[in-house]
């Protein structure tokens, strides 16, 4: 009996020993392969990190390029643009080319670079339609005030301008010829592929007051490549779109923007949201003597003004 008691005590002591001899198991790490988990959201980017320096609405409503400036010698942008729920117009194509002189940065008084001086060229044609050289006007903020300035030239062609020329529709899912003449005997010509036309749809559910506002986005997905969604707001003027966030996801036709993202938008902008769908193709080319380093992009853009329920 004494032996049994001893064994009993040994067993109880072993039990207590085991109690203090524990290591927690590590979590099992899983490989993310399921877009349903994050509602097809792959990346979120703040597109207006310095609102006290740059005016991000510069040209955004028409180009979809939200960066305040691009650190490239040549920027060629070809955009087929649609609007839904806007007061003026439903379609606007916009083509432009800017040729930065990177040796001439433009700085504000704080020393922050606002861009580069844009040099003049012999001419630019889009599908053989001549673009007009115009002042490359930028706006910036200094001491809380908006300032306008001109930093060189940009070549622009819009649908409106084309009424007086050979009008052409933006050639979706095709290609568009760009010719840049540096001088009479020196030019550069390239065919830029264009993306399929994008058509988006936004359905809002929930409400800001209950902190459960959700935007369900749909579009004609191609299941190839990615798509960008820009959440912006209409400025008080009602014409310019101020971009806030850029969301990136697979071009699969759907994305959900949850309340955790939307509820932090400034109160004043809630009812003036613009959701911009952007399907983009960039053309990579080697550096050359005319364009030097370049950023060439064609894109289909659909801006949708959203009525947010109370």
């Amino acid at each position: 009996m004494r032996v049994m008691k001893t064994i009993k005590y040994i067993l109880i002591a072993s039990t207590l020993f085991m109690l203090f001899r524990c290591t927690n198991p590590s979590p099992t790490e899983l490989i993310q392969d399921n877009t349903a988990v994050n509602e097809n959201l792959q990346q979120i980017e703040v597109v207006s990190p310095d609102p006290d320096t740059y005016v991000y609405s510069n040209g955004y409503d028409s180009t979809g390029i939200v960066e305040p400036y691009l650190n490239k010698s040549s920027v060629i942008s070809l955009s087929g643009i649609k609007y839904s729920n806007f007061d003026d117009g439903s379609q606007a194509d916009y083509y432009y080319a800017v040729f930065n002189d990177k040796s001439m940065p433009i700085l504000n008084t704080m020393g922050t670079r606002l861009g580069f001086w844009a040099r003049m060229m012999g001419g630019v044609r889009f599908n053989n339609v001549v673009a007009s050289p115009m002042q490359n006007r930028i706006r910036y903020l200094q001491n809380g005030e908006v300032h306008d300035t001109v930093i060189g030239y940009r070549f622009v062609l819009t649908r409106k301008m084309m009424h007086s020329h050979n009008k052409f529709e933006f050639p979706y899912n095709s290609k568009l010829n760009v010719r840049v003449d540096e001088s009479r005997n020196s030019f550069f010509q390239i065919d830029v592929p264009t993306p399929a036309e994008i058509s988006g749809e936004v359905n809002a559910s929930g409400s800001p007051s209950r902190n459960n506002l959700t935007l369900n986005l749909k579009w004609n997905g191609t299941n190839q490549g990615i798509i960008e969604i820009v959440i912006g707001v209409l400025e008080d003027s009602g014409n310019e779109i101020f971009p806030l966030l850029k969301l990136t996801g697979a071009d699969n036709g759907k994305m959900k923007i949850s309340s955790s993202i939307l509820e932090k938008l400034p109160d004043r902008v809630y009812k003036k949201l613009v959701i911009t769908f952007i399907r983009r193709q960039t053309k990579e080319i080697p550096e050359n003597s005319i364009l030097k380093d370049s950023y060439i992009v064609s894109q289909s853009i659909h801006n949708i003004k959203v009525e947010i329920p109370d």
Binding site: M4, I7, K8, L11, I12, S14, T15, M18, L19, R21, C22, T23, N24, P25, S26, P27, T28, E29, L30, I31, Q32, D33, N34, T35, A36, V37, N38, L41, Q42, Q43, I44, E45, V46, S48, P49, D50, P51, D52, L244, L245, S258, S260, I261, K264, L265, P266
Partner: protein, 654 residues
């Protein structure tokens, strides 16, 4: 019955393995997973602790479960705390935050999933020793933490931070189970799976995607003991998962050593046989130690995907697609405050050797009587049973005996002889095993004693028991007698006597003696009797062989017979035969005018009938055998007052 085997199906995963059997079920060697009815052979208080080592990245070890149980008569209570029932996942949500291209600040959002079974409790009730039922409730927590973007907008800076959103979706799981076990060789259990799952409602998408699956179903478990100390178990779950396994128990160092293994197919896992679970257990009266393991047959270290988790889901926390190989050491300790043993053998007295042919004798007369003592301060009901491998096909239970506190009592053991499966050919010494139980199938005490098992032809010398030899070949005798009657139909009809029975008996007897020779029994320590068919085949025998055979021929065609036992006449015992003519004393003239040749006996209705003595060893003819027998009966039973003194006894066969 308390025998409770564990099962390892998809839902029925149990960390004890299949280590439970009828020999070590003093301890609870299973848990809710495989024993939903929850009843167990524990005596009083029991503590069990299990420690698991998991072959995950960290080779972690943790307390798997701690449980307490308490048996109160037919009631059984069980509670357990399960820190080891814990599974966590982490994955990249697939969302990257970019604050600024210039400063290249990127953050990848993560998601954490945490599942735990915190605790559980159960109750069960034993309605009768063969039937018990119970329920269990278990509490699960689920915590899902998602890192989500939190944009921040101001006049001077726009930024995205991250914050953690936590969603909980805790729930209870309740199940019912019932077990039927008519004997230790057979056990059938049926239990529900996810019968009740009340939960905290969560509308969060993550809870919908990743919550533990709570599909309702049932599990059926069958345990059989085809051979002594070998238990086989099969479990089927309505999800089409199953388990097959078995264990072998052996007495070892004063305890029971059990080992075995199981394999299981899980509908939600690959390959078809998802894993193997070996186990060993050593149990004594005071403690039990079990070492069990699970080895999965696919590579559990291979990377797994979020889609896999979403599609297949988690159906239980111990055994799923994401479980690692595991080794579990479980210790059960009896914390009983009751005496470890309630009843104990003092001695067992064997009343007789076993004569297999006399089977029914042991149903009415104990073959052994034990002296047992109640070691408690309460009156106990002792249910005894015995088992002799050579003659029994299963345990043979004897009547319950109540023993007063600290008192002793005689306990009779009866037995049933299974002639069809008799395992002996000649006389041999066997081991008789005696057991005492209190309310459960688990033996409180056991005793073993050698006992002589005779062969089939052995006879205990009691003429009363010759009836078993007569009846053994009764159908053969029936055919044999009918054939003779058919062949000699005319002879019977034109017979000497005006009684058909007399003529039939005469014809059968004359045919019988014509073939027979008197052959004495061999000199041996035990008397033997031939069965009727053997006597006819051997064409001879001694007085009891011939009497048994002829009695069988008459009984086979419905003629009543009786043995006349002449005890020790002239130093030699002798057996002769009577048969009933069915005639009344008034009809005596139909067969004889000599009243010394007949015996008048009352039938069950109280009416007199004429019986005729026949000496089967008088191998001449019927009339001579009749005369010889009548003369002997008159001399020994009447003139020498044998009937009055008891030296002559008439024993009816029916």
């Amino acid at each position: 019955m308390i025998f409770t085997a564990a099962s390892y199906g998809q839902q029925s995963m149990d960390f004890y393995g299949l280590s439970s059997n009828a020999y070590n079920s003093r301890f609870r060697l299973n848990s809710f997973e495989s024993n939903a009815d929850n009843f167990n052979g524990s005596k009083d208080w029991e503590l069990s602790v299990s420690f698991s080592g998991v072959n995950d990245e960290n080779k972690s070890g943790n307390i798997n479960a701690i449980s307490f149980s308490k048996r109160i008569s037919e009631h059984y209570l069980y509670a357990r705390y399960t820190p080891g029932y814990h599974q966590q996942f982490i994955f990249n949500s697939g969302v990257k935050l970019v604050v600024s291209d210039d400063i290249d600040v990127e953050t990848v959002l993560k998601t954490y999933l945490d599942y735990q079974e915190k605790f559980g409790f159960g109750y069960s009730y034993q309605f009768i020793p063969e039937l018990n039922a119970g329920f269990s409730f278990r509490y699960f927590t689920q915590e899902f933490e998602e890192e989500v973007p939190e944009p921040f907008f101001s006049d001077t800076l726009n930024y995205i931070a991250t914050k953690t959103e936590t969603t909980t979706s805790n729930f209870w799981r309740g199940d019912l189970g019932i077990t039927y076990s008519p004997n230790e060789n057979f056990r059938l259990s049926v239990s529900s799976i996810n019968l009740f799952t009340p939960e905290e409602t969560s509308t969060a998408e993550i809870a919908k995607n990743f919550s533990i699956k709570k599909t309702k179903g049932f599990a059926a478990q069958l345990s059989l003991m085809p051979l002594e100390k070998i238990t086989t178990t099969a479990v089927y779950e309505s999800s089409n998962s199953f388990l097959l396994g078995g264990n072998f128990a052996a007495d070892f160092l004063g305890g029971v050593f059990t080992f075995g293994a199981s394999v299981f197919h899980d509908k939600y896992q690959h390959p078809f046989i998802a894993g193997v679970s070996p186990f060993i257990n050593f149990s004594t009266e005071l403690y039990g130690i079990t070492l069990s393991g699970v080895k999965y047959l696919n590579d559990r270290q291979a990377p797994q995907t979020v889609s896999n988790l979403m599609e297949r889901g988690i159906h239980n926390l111990l055994n799923n697609n994401f479980s690692y190989d595991r080794l579990t050491l479980s210790i059960n300790v009896a914390l009983s405050f009751l005496p470890a043993q309630s009843v104990k053998f003092i001695d067992v007295e064997l009343k007789n050797e076993i004569y297999p042919t006399l089977g029914d004798v042991y149903l009415n007369n104990p073959f052994a009587v034990a002296r047992a003592v109640n070691m408690t301060d309460k009156t106990i009901s002792v249910k005894p049973y015995s088992f002799i491998k050579e003659i029994n096909s299963e345990n043979v239970y004897s009547p319950v005996v109540n023993i007063l506190p600290y008192d002793t009592a005689n306990i009779s053991f009866y037995t049933v002889i299974n002639l069809e499966n008799l395992k002996i050919k000649r006389r041999e010494i066997a081991q008789a095993n005696f057991y005492l139980t209190i309310g459960s199938n688990s033996a409180e005490d056991q005793f073993q004693k050698p006992i002589l098992i005779n062969d089939l032809n052995s006879w205990d010398g009691n003429v009363y028991n010759l009836r078993y030899f007569v009846k053994r070949d009764i159908s053969f005798a029936n055919q044999h007698s009918k054939l003779i009657i058919k062949e000699k139909k005319e002879e019977i009809e034109s017979g000497k006597y005006k009684s058909e029975i007399m003529n039939q008996v005469k014809i059968i007897f004359d045919d019988f003696v014509k073939k027979m020779k008197y052959i004495s029994d061999p000199r041996a320590s035990v008397e033997t009797v031939q069965f009727p068919q053997e006597t006819l085949q051997l064409k001879g025998g001694d007085c009891d062989d011939l009497s048994v055979c002829f009695a069988s021929l008459l009984e086979g065609i419905g003629i009543q017979t009786a043995f006349v036992d002449y005890k020790n006449t002239g130093g030699v015992s002798h057996v002769s035969l009577f048969f009933n003519t069915g005639l009344t004393p008034e009809e005596m003239s139909l067969i004889t005018n000599n009243d010394n040749k007949i015996v008048v006996r009352k039938n069950l209705d109280g009416n007199d009938e004429l019986w005729i003595p026949v000496e089967t060893t008088s191998l001449t003819d019927f009339e001579t055998a009749w005369s010889v027998a009548a003369e002997m009966f008159n001399r020994e039973a009447v003139e020498n007052l044998g009937l009055a003194k008891g030296s002559v006894v008439i024993v009816d066969i029916n």
